[in-house]
């Protein structure tokens, strides 16, 4: 049994790690701004395609890959400073719906510019592989496990110990009071958008390598990340991390049984719905009006 399950379990850990990292990025942004950024995957996909184009034109990966991260951070910053403030007084659902607009624009632009051909990214870390049983693990997959843990730890420490992190937690609690206390709320929110954008860019590069550089596929890989964030109640970062890993492992492990494998795509949805039912209406989730 374990010998059949083992390769899928191992592969699922790396994938789940990237879901976890994306989920942490979503939670950090939500906690600070009240926005659940549904364009997370779309912006990341566009950044990854820009990297692909740069490499295709002969530009070194050492420039192209940071270029993806920079693009995602910039787009997030522009949205966060120009558009998000216009609806900052609205409820979370409205603010989240607005990010759908950004997603649709991103997908449309990507289809126009890159739509027809096949694209792929192979990070330099994918060329070093180790055999674990039947599975070959690359350094990219190892990074997909290590990065999220480090980033989550760093995020928790940042939120607890730093002035900016404290301000973010304060804004999450009550934006109006925080503003009245003289905290530069818009600047703090912009920082949250940038941090989220950076995580988006890193996740996009890893997912483009581990899954595919497909416009729609990569854009909608936000769904497992979203499921991880929802299981973490859009608030608990370590829970989000664990949930991301769990989703990846479970989804991949279903490949062990061909009769069940066909339904593994439902994994993030079922887990998210389950989390909602378990945590239920009686639990409080911090939100912003």
């Amino acid at each position: 049994m374990w010998s059949d399950l083992q390769p899928f379990f191992v592969l699922g850990i790396a994938l789940g790690g990237v879901f976890a990292m994306s989920g942490v990025g979503l939670v950090v942004l939500y906690r600070t701004t009240g926005v659940l950024n549904l364009a997370y995957g779309g912006v990341g996909a566009m950044g990854a395609l820009i990297s692909w184009t740069m490499i295709d034109k002969g530009i070194s990966g050492w420039i192209a890959y940071p270029g993806c991260i920079l693009f995602c951070a910039l787009v997030s910053l522009v949205y966060g400073t120009l558009f998000a403030p216009l609806i900052s007084g609205r409820d979370s659902l409205t603010k989240t719906t607005a990010t759908l607009g950004m997603l649709v624009i991103a997908i449309g632009l990507m289809q126009m510019i890159w739509g027809r051909n096949a694209h792929s990214i192979t990070l330099p870390t994918s060329y070093w592989n180790y055999q674990i049983g039947e599975v070959r693990i690359s350094w990219t997959q190892i990074l997909g496990v290590v990065f999220p843990i480090l980033i989550t730890y760093g995020t928790v420490v940042f939120l607890k110990k730093s002035k900016v992190g404290t301000a973010m937690r304060s804004i999450a609690n009550d934006r109006e009071i925080t503003a009245m206390l003289g905290v530069p709320v818009r600047r703090i929110e912009s920082i949250a958008w940038v941090v989220s954008g950076v995580l988006c860019g890193i996740a996009a590069l890893l997912l483009a390598n581990l899954v595919s550089l497909d416009i729609v596929g990569l854009s909608f890989l936000v769904v497992p990340s979203l499921a991880a964030a929802l299981i973490g109640q859009l608030n608990k970062i370590w829970v989000t991390l664990a949930a991301g890993f769990f989703i990846g492992i479970l989804q991949s492990s279903f490949n062990t049984w061909p009769s069940v494998a066909d339904y593994r795509g439902l994994t993030p949805f079922v887990l998210a719905i389950g989390a909602l039912l378990v945590f239920g209406a009686g639990k409080n989730m911090v939100a912003r009006t």
Binding site: D4, P7, L11, G12, L15, L36, L38, S92, L93, T96, L100, L103, V104, I107, G115, R116, N117, A118, H119, S120, N129, Q131, E134, V135, R136, D174, E176, I177, L210, V211, S212, D214, V216, G217, F220, L221, V223, L226, L230, Q251, S252, N255, P258, A261, D262, R264, G265, F269, I273, L276, L277, F279, A281, K283, N284, M285, V286, A287, R288, T289
Partner: protein, 459 residues
């Protein structure tokens, strides 16, 4: 003081989840789009050599830049309306075919049209909604009054609209997908479709030494379970175990999928893939990363025969991915292939040079030759009669001349083709023309008998 209100968590988050689900569906099912081509672009490069184009005899050589009448003068008369439709959903984009068909018609229009009349081609995208595709067909035929349908490439068009087209006397020239396209006398495809193309891939895999189990993997979309029966029937007929796998596209976990397919095929087995190039590429790269290239024999239907795919494959794949190519290789250097490249570069530069582009080119060219052969008025009746009457239509892209109507139960005019494999970033021919296997559940035996009896594709 404004209090931060506590969310009713499950309701709010439930709304957000519903929003995500609806958004996913909504973006995937964006409304149909249409494009038309009757504009007079810049005049084609003048070439005084008259085209040798005769649909009746099938000698179809044309000089580069020439199409149709080959006059070099834009057509300005009353437009001849033609229509087409193509599936366009995430993971499945068949608009390459209709776009290239439209490009060919633009070239025709720049070269005098059909006796001075330009072709006005309306190509509509469809999103696998039977109601939508039925309304598209009705609109094209009854409102837009198109005289014929060319380049249709849809997963469900033949099933949904076949009876309607028969009722209206339409004989579309298509690139078929749905098996219904090949079991009806009312359609004739320039390609052989995924059923026969996957079967060709399976044949190549068997010749390469596949034993034990043969796995066919295709998109989890309507009709593909039937499409896969060609491979499963062939495997069983040759003493192999057959497994049919339907996968959602794009793949959520290519590395895990690669491991699973290898386990299912077993040592010495074969896996026949049936996906478009952009979809299958991540799987191929995961297969390589996992060190699974030599674990089984990998084969495929036509769509990955696309330079953007071979370019992304490393040398480890050289000769190890057997792709059934329904047309001749893209770098054959032969006249029709070169002709296609010139037209593509001028009128559809965003399209890659790929198998789908070849389909669109041939559909447009066959239709044009048929239109040019009509003596008298161009009506829905005369146009469709001309389409249906095509035989012995030669091109260096096919193994044998093409014809519309086999006289048997369904048309599979392109039923012989080649195998290609990647080599150093390009596709090369590894097997020359071979006949796709006749099986008890396909009509190829009867079709080939009729070909001989009626001289439909004599060399």
């Amino acid at each position: 003081m404004t209090k931060t209100s506590r969310l009713s968590g499950s309701r709010r988050i439930g709304s957000l989840l519903a929003l995500v689900a609806v958004a996913s569906l909504g973006i995937a099912a964006c409304g149909s789009s249409s494009s038309s081509s009757s504009d007079t672009a810049a005049p084609a490069v003048a070439d005084t050599t008259a085209p040798v184009a005769d649909a009746a005899t099938g000698a179809n050589l044309q000089a580069p830049g020439q199409c149709g009448m080959g006059t070099g003068t834009p057509a300005t008369g009353e437009p001849i309306k033609l229509g087409g439709l193509a599936t366009n959903v995430p993971g499945i984009d068949f608009t390459w075919i209709t776009t290239m068909t439209g490009a060919y018609f633009k070239c025709v229009n720049d070269n005098g049209g059909i006796n001075g009349r330009p072709i006005e081609y309306t190509a509509v995208d469809e999103q696998l909604d039977p109601t939508q595709i039925a309304s598209i067909a009705t609109k094209l035929i009854e409102e837009d009054k198109v005289l014929g349908l060319v380049g249709n490439t849809s997963i469900i068009d033949c099933s949904v609209n076949g009876a309607y087209y028969a009722e209206k006397g339409f004989y579309p020239i298509i690139a078929g997908v749905d098996q219904a396209c090949f079991t009806s006398a009312n359609f004739s495809a320039v390609n052989m479709g995924p059923y026969y193309s996957s079967l060709g891939g399976a044949q190549a895999a068997l010749r390469a030494g596949a034993k034990g189990t043969m796995v066919i993997v295709s998109p989890n979309l309507p009709g593909y379970d039937l499409i896969d029966t060609g491979v499963t029937d062939f495997a069983k007929a040759n003493g192999l175990k057959a497994i049919d796998v339907l996968e959602d596209v794009p793949f959520a976990d290519p590395a895990s999928l690669a491991q699973r397919l290898v386990k299912q095929a077993g040592p010495g087995g074969a896996v026949v893939l049936d996906f478009t190039g952009p979809v299958v590429l991540p799987l191929l790269q995961a297969i390589e990363q996992q060190g699974l290239i030599d674990s089984v024999i990998w084969a495929s239907s036509t769509p990955p025969n696309d330079p953007s795919v071979s370019k992304e494959l490393s040398a480890k794949w050289n000769g190890k991915f057997l792709v059934n190519a329904e047309m001749n290789v893209l770098d054959s250097g032969l006249p029709d292939q070169n002709h296609m490249e010139v037209i593509r570069a001028k009128y559809a530069p965003d399209l890659p040079s790929a198998a789908f582009t070849q389909f669109g080119y041939l559909a447009g060219r066959i239709a044009t030759d048929a239109l040019m052969s009509i003596k008298g008025d161009l009506t829905q009746e005369s146009v469709n009669a001309a389409f249906k009457g095509i035989k012995n239509w030669k091109t260096d892209m096919f193994c044998k001349p093409w014809y519309y109507s086999s006289g048997a139960a369904g048309n599979v005019s392109n039923n012989s083709d080649i195998t290609v494999a990647p080599k150093d970033g390009v596709w090369v021919k590894v097997e020359d023309c071979f006949d796709i296997a006749a099986l008890p559940n396909n009509p190829l035996d009867a079709i080939r008998a009729n070909e001989i009896a009626n001289g439909l594709n004599v060399g």
